[in-house]
């Protein structure tokens, strides 16, 4: 009959610890799933608006993913700035409800606000933790004063794994297989989104350059605009590298046979969602100058004429990376063709532009210009 007891009954059946320190620990452990949800799925809490202008500005142009693993959302939530949400995690345990809270015990960051922080971003290289950074937070339980628990939250929202298989680089070759390679035995993780101004701000603060941060909150979710050498430095600081062209192609050219990681022929898809460009809206737009963009087109590839939107996941590629075509021009390291370091397909070009095709790249002088050149990082981890 034990199998049929409800979860609550099962909890009641557990023996309540006889000391406050053990009870405190059990409450914190029980709060873990909700805590993780708040941290990694901030978007589910961000239903309405926020009232913490120093941390976040609610903007319909910004997709929900911006709020996931987002320290400013964490700060806003615990400051009581998320409309409709009490800044607490309620835990039912041993027939009682306990209120778990985060403590504002970390130094304020005057560049953001004078309010003490509910988190501290730390560089962790050399700690043996196998993490380059993490967010330290402190929790307490209202009903058991005098105890605190410090813990570290990791950024599990940032990147995604590139499966091991044989990949092709570049456009569909006229003959032969072109350049192919494989990543068997390697653990490569690619940023899902562009590096934002907010992320660069965090990096600047870690390097005692708070006076250089972008203070306009409305710009924080936008891709950071940096010279290529600074892009590389940013990635390197976190043990990562600037995304490379062959990895970009691997992440965006959908394989024809997922089950076979060693295909005899490596097919180069021309778009992430249609193998042949001619069958996609981009192909139709090339032959029809009057083509009218649909909302679905703009979800797949934000091109000229589409509404501006950031942190959308509608364009996700087969392995979870976003913004394969359209959106922003993107800087890429390229050791195969060193002169081809820019993905030009972007929201600055008409849908009919021949630049909207996977594997098509051009040169970039690496300097900041009027149009943002976005970038992202990747990390190779030891197996």
């Amino acid at each position: 009959m034990l199998f049929f007891r409800s979860k609550q009954e099962a909890q009641l059946a557990r023996v309540k610890p006889d000391t406050d320190d053990k009870l405190f620990t059990e409450i914190i452990r029980a709060a873990e799933p909700q805590l993780l949800k708040l941290w990694t799925q901030g978007q589910t809490f961000h239903q309405g608006s926020t009232q913490c202008k120093e941390e976040l500005i609610s903007d319909k142009k910004v997709g929900g993913s911006y709020y996931n693993c987002q320290p400013h959302f964490w700060q806003c939530f615990w400051q009581g700035g998320v409309t409709g949400s009490k800044p607490a995690i309620m835990v039912e345990l041993f027939g009682q409800t306990y209120e778990v809270r985060a403590n504002a015990v970390f130094p304020s960051i005057p560049a953001y606000s004078e309010f003490p922080r509910f988190y501290e971003l730390l560089k962790l290289s050399g700690t043996g933790l196998n993490l380059h950074s993490g967010y330290k937070v402190e929790l307490s339980v209202k009903e058991i004063p005098g105890f605190t628990q410090t813990l570290l939250l990791t950024d599990t929202c940032r990147d995604t794994y590139l499966p091991e298989r044989i990949y092709g680089y570049g456009k569909r070759p006229a003959s032969g297989e072109g350049f192919i390679w494989d990543n068997f035995g390697r653990r490569i993780f690619l940023d899902k989104f562009y590096v934002t101004n907010q992320m660069v701000n965090e990096w600047l603060i870690l390097n005692n350059l708070a006076d250089k941060i972008i203070t306009d909150r409305s710009l924080w979710p936008l891709p950071a605009s940096l010279p290529v050498e600074t892009q590389k430095k940013y990635c390197s600081y976190f043990g990562k590298r600037l995304l490379s062209a062959e990895l970009f192609d691997a992440a965006t050219m959908t394989p024809t046979d997922f089950k076979n990681p060693r295909p005899l022929k490596v097919v180069r898809a021309q778009t992430p969602w249609q193998r042949d460009l001619s069958k996609s809206f981009l192909g139709v737009a090339r032959i029809n100058p009057d083509y009218q963009l649909t909302p679905l087109d703009c979800q797949l590839a934000q091109v000229k004429g589409c509404r501006e939107k950031y942190f959308t996941t509608d364009s996700s590629s087969w392995m979870g990376m976003n913004f394969a075509l359209g959106f922003f021009p993107e800087s890429l390291a390229n050791t195969i063709d060193p002169a081809s370091t820019l993905k030009p397909s972007s929201r600055f070009l008409e849908a009919s532009s021949p630049w909207h095709e996977l594997g098509v790249r051009t040169s970039w002088d690496g300097k900041v210009s009027e149009n943002i050149v976005a970038f992202r990082c990747y990390e190779e981890v030891e197996p």
Partner: protein, 267 residues
């Protein structure tokens, strides 16, 4: 003042130290004592029973050694001493502990994979200490949509309360070999690359895992290590040796793969 605290710790305690609530692991278990066996021999000797590891607030791995003085001329004594994680408990067995509990009888302990228990009488009162390590984290298999953070560590890392070491962290500097692999593909020493300041780069040598150096240098450039191209895309099982087949590596633009011993570089 110090004697006052020593007095307090000798004669009053309220269960195991709180930091043990965040124990990561149990190590250095006594070689001979069996689980739940009342410890009676060798009389009057100090024995190192086991140690608990945990992360302190400064992310250093710390260790609490648990010692027991076997009853003989006088009653047994339990001693707990914090030592750096790389110090063997046996080397500190005669040092004073942070916690020492005297007048102990009927002492036994047991160790399981992720828990420890100690049972004893003190002042005719039975004490039962149970310690459970923080949920054991197992490295996941890499899979679609898995993040690097989830692959490398638990999503939440608990830090032991009341413990702050002053040890500073220093990562491994750029250019230092962090994983030494011989030309016959044998690992010469365990990888330290996780401690590199700015990531690491593999120098391809045709092995499934090649040697690695710390740093953010880019592969494929002039006088740089070649980029790893893999040993599967060729679609034929063979041994890759830099001198006979360099298809496992590539170089930038017009540079060529050249061999420095078994390692592939670009010139």
């Amino acid at each position: 003042m110090m004697y006052f605290f020593l007095f307090i710790s000798l004669f009053s305690f309220a269960g195991p130290p709180r930091k043990w609530e965040n124990a990561k692991g149990i190590v250095e278990k006594h070689e001979f004592y069996k689980n739940n066996e009342v410890i009676l021999k060798p009389q009057n000797s100090w024995q190192s029973l086991f140690a608990l590891t945990f992360l302190d607030s400064n992310f250093n791995l710390s260790k609490d050694c648990v010692y027991f003085k076997v009853p003989g001329d006088e009653a047994g004594k339990l001693k707990i001493k914090a030592v750096p994680h790389d110090v063997e408990c046996s080397s500190e067995i005669l040092a004073a502990g942070e916690v020492e509990i005297a007048d102990i009888s009927d002492f036994s302990f047991s160790i399981e994979e992720s828990s420890a228990r100690m049972s004893f009488f003190q002042n005719k009162k039975r004490e039962l200490w149970s310690i459970t390590t923080v949920a054991d984290w197992k490295k996941p298999q890499p899979a679609l949509l898995l993040s690097s953070a989830d692959y490398k560590s638990p999503a939440i890392i608990y830090l032991a309360p009341g413990t702050t070491s002053q040890q500073k962290h220093t990562g491994i500097k750029d250019g230092i070999v962090c994983h030494n692999i011989a030309s016959d593909c044998q690992e010469l020493s365990p990888s330290q690359c996780r401690n590199c300041d700015h990531g690491w780069m593999e120098i391809p040598n045709g092995c499934v895992t090649g040697p690695k150096i710390c740093g953010d240098a880019v592969c494929g450039g002039k006088d740089q290590p070649a980029c790893r191209r893999g040993i599967v895309w060729q679609r034929n099982e063979q041994t890759y040796d830099c001198r006979s087949n360099t298809s496992f590596a590539w170089c930038s633009g017009k540079l060529s793969v050249v061999c420095d011993g078994d390692k592939a570089y670009c010139r």
